[in-house]
Symmetry: C2
Subunit: 115 residues, 2 copies
């Protein structure tokens, strides 16, 4: 289970602002936020979402970001490991798309009806 799946489970019950959050839930939220908290990774999420078919390969991202393939691959691995992107290999290239609901889980953990 990825951190984000843990976060998805906890987000329904203990959003950040609804009640005092346990240390374990806070760690899951912080881990997911940390995976996103890098300008290139925010841009990657944005580029993947804005791509035709909502899918992008390393080559597309490399050109758009002006970063080396190794650097882009590192950022993609962090986002895959954190549960934000899924990877599928077709032919020479790996393609990346957003995991539905992943960003929404983080957003839901940050905001909740005020008491």
């Amino acid at each position: 289970m990825t951190t984000l799946e843990v976060l998805g489970r906890s987000a329904c019950c203990t959003p950040v602002t609804a009640d005092a959050m346990s240390r374990a839930d806070a760690q899951a939220v912080a881990h997911a936020l940390k995976a996103l908290a890098e300008p290139a990774r925010v841009q990657i999420i944005s580029l993947v979402a804005a791509s035709s078919d909502a899918e992008a390969c390393v080559c597309d991202l490399q050109d758009a970001l002006g970063l080396s393939q190794g650097t882009v691959s590192h950022h993609l691995k962090v986002l895959v490991d954190a549960g934000f992107l899924q990877r599928s290999k077709r032919g020479t290239w790996a393609y990346y798309r957003l995991i539905p609901g992943a960003l929404e889980s983080v957003a839901a953990a940050l905001t909740a009806p005020r008491r």
Copy 2:
């Protein structure tokens, strides 16, 4: 203008998933996320929101987190500087409350209607 105010301005126009985001906007989003991406800071936000009168002092937070006053003060400064908390001094203690809309700005930057 805090990073979060910049983010608030940009979030309305270029959410992460609505279109390819500029490097400057991605930096503002990443900066705000980084301020939150620490378990103790997630817990502080949660504890402040759950406090009576939606306000907490360092002493309340220190007891709840089991951290030193210096460590709690450091985390509070990061959250104030990033635009998530406001500080008001009354008597001996400083009190902290959430800045309305700040967490929502970050959440809105992460989620947007898909194209």
